[in-house]
Amino acid sequence: MTDSTKSGFYQETAGPDQTFLDANELVLNMGPQHPSTHGVLRVILRLDGEKVLGTECVIGYLHRGVEKIAENRTYTMFNPYVDRMDYVAAVSNGLGYCLAVEKLLNIEAPPRAAYIRVVLTELNRMASHQLWLGTHALDIGAMTPLFYTFRDREEILKIYEKYCGARLTTHAFRIGGTLYETYDGFEQDVNNFVKFVTPKIGEYEELLTTNRIWVERTKGVGVLSGKDCIDFGVTGPVLRAGGVKWDLRKAQPYSMYDKFDFEIPTGENGDTFDRYIVRIAEMRQSLRIIDQAVNSIPAGPIMAKVPKVMKPAVGEVYVSIEAPKGELGYFVVSDGSTQPYRVRVRPPSFVNLQALDKMVRGALVADVVAVIGTLDIVLGEVDR
């Protein structure tokens, strides 16, 4: 804990005017090795007893320089790297990148590819939310939902494995469409999954939604109103729980999302419980989209006409999608060569994490854990 003395706020408090009990603030260094910082997040907490007076996030432990790597790879080569940012929602990352480069190349994926993309991306949203629910519940002390959600997520990973050969870092989409045609029984598998998982979501809810401990632990904790969300640039379920009905899939539809009928669940208070409810509802909406999409995949090609060596014209685009965690944007600059001149990723986790300080000020240590969980951060994406 000695190195936390270096942090900015420590000097302010440790002055000569200590009381006779020597009762100054406690600086607690949570992470990077901590069970519930979801990776290698380090939060330096300034505590008065158990009450949080302030926080400082120290991030970058997982920084791999994705943006620099991009500048040294061709557009095709960089595609697998984006999976490694938000590794629990790899397919969404890939979709965002492919859409950005497609925009730069001024092409569009054929409808069949778009539908397959929607199915896989929504499955990915399910998987991401399930993993979030499990770990969030574990943070709050309920061990068991983790195993149930992982069990159900496994079915999604199996579909991925059958579809594209990898379970986590899928590299499922290619620029211009998808490489892989659906396998025999893909529709069957996905439909079975929808049937299988619908009652399971009910079970998660039985374990948590009405449970008095869960409700007490989450209601009124980490409140972030819609106005604050916008100010902090927080997007995704956190923003929607604050009452702002905004979802990029509806606001600026991409990949044929305008063809599907679904709702945007919103909360009212913007507290941890609302975020939980919103994500549970989003899982159900995702299932709705999957159900619609998988049963109406049109016939046709799955790959647009893409040059073998991609040399987009000089220019820059910003394309963003609604990733499970919020707005995931790619700002791609081309200088006309085969390699992107600059790829900037707008990571939802990174921006959302910034609101942590506001959400936990005045709360207790246990709430810090709950709030980190409810923000649904993935350190691979925060640090890139």
Partner: protein, 209 residues
Amino acid sequence: MADETTSKDQPKPPESKPAAEKPAAPPAAKAAAAPSAKPAGPTPQPWESEMVAKFKARFGSGIREASTYVGQNYMVVDGSIVYEALQLLREDEGFDYCVDITAVHYPKREEQFDLVWILYSFPRNERIRVKTLLKDGASVPSVVAIWSTANWLEREVFDMFGIGFDGHPDLKRILLPDGWKGHPLRKDYPILQQDTEWVKINLGIESGQ
């Protein structure tokens, strides 16, 4: 590690774009692609709108360019008025959500950096990019007062490009450790420099590659 292909070409002249010389693109394919003159891609079109007109009237030549590229609007403004312009965008035009702040490094230009603010307006459901061109070592006013989200985003830009933000509450490195040398996303930052230096000091070997 035995990575024969990369180790040879890594210490490359800092001036040139490092990627261009990699044996990445297959020579055969490159030859094939070159003659087939690709149709020129879309070009930026002038962006005409009420807002742009208002801004042009207000700032005059401060708005250097307002264009649309593949349906995305952007505005290049002068560094001196950028804070004012952003504030106006937030307060009068409803761009209440600062999506991202980033930069692009063009080492050959005199104004080396493109600093980009990507903004979104919830009421208008519209995106806009505001760009400003900066010299190396120049700084711009921080927009943390306008959007709280700018705090970390500006820190990241500072970390990666070394662009200063005046009035930022806590401008220090965010992703890289405090003692890091250089700003990695600059084009003249060689990837292996830091690594080689570290292995020389700590492991006593010439190169980690």
